[in-house]
Amino acid sequence: MSELHTVNKSPFEKSSLESCLGHAQEGSAVLLLEDGVYGAAKGAAAVEAKMKAATGIKLYVLGPDFKARGLSADRLIDGVEMVDYAGFVDLAAEHDKVVAWV
């Protein structure tokens, strides 16, 4: 089965992203939302390295949350795809279950 994992906390404040990536199986997807979107922004070496090490995992970021925080699309880490709420719904439907790393 394939999972959609969601992370809504800043990787600088909480360990949720690290824990999520440590448990996500190959073939699963991770969606960053709310304060979790900071994990998808370029330039923070430590976090960027963790995201890039997540091989075999598809990475997404919730666009509305990314933009709310003053981050524009050109700041996205390569390989992270932006979705809106409708795209979030699609991701939840396409994967067999959703695991929230709250």
């Binding site: 969601t6 939302l33 709420y85 719904v89 699609d90 439907a93 959703v98 929230a100 709250v102």
Partner: protein, 130 residues
């Protein structure tokens, strides 16, 4: 597809209820079914009719109520969590000797079994929390 939604945080303090709202709305607009929205932990705070947010801000409680009316959503507030946090309907007021109620009529108070049932009956459970 049939979704169940669980909300663990109250309005305004955390974005959880906002995100859950936009997810639920998008799912319904795409023609999916939302079997139930279950408010747990501080999430029960989303159901009070006594909020008066600033005029230039969203009204989280009313927004849920309007979505529920439009799509006949079942919005359930956990009774145990509600008792701890002072969310009361007529039945609860009677049982616990309270002199007022504060629940918005779009919501109903019920047991945790409703969350488990929602997870069984739905194809996906989504949890929005802190």
């Amino acid at each position: 597809m049939k979704f169940a939604i669980q909300i663990n945080e109250g309005p305004y303090q955390h974005q959880a209820s906002d995100t859950a709202y936009f997810f639920t709305k998008a799912a319904l607009e795409k023609g999916h079914e939302v079997f139930r929205v279950f408010f747990y932990h501080d999430g029960v705070g989303n159901s009070t009719r006594l909020t008066t947010p600033p005029q230039d801000d969203r009204n989280i409680v009313n927004r849920w109520a309007e979505l529920a009316e439009q799509y006949k959503l079942d919005m359930v507030v956990c009774v145990a969590a509600a008792q701890r946090r002072g969310i009361v309907d007529n039945g609860e007021a009677g049982r616990n000797g309270k002199d007022a109620t504060n629940i918005h009529p779009a919501f109903r108070i019920s047991g945790l079994g409703q969350l488990v049932e929602a997870a069984i009956q739905s194809e996906r459970l989504l949890v929005f929390g802190d």
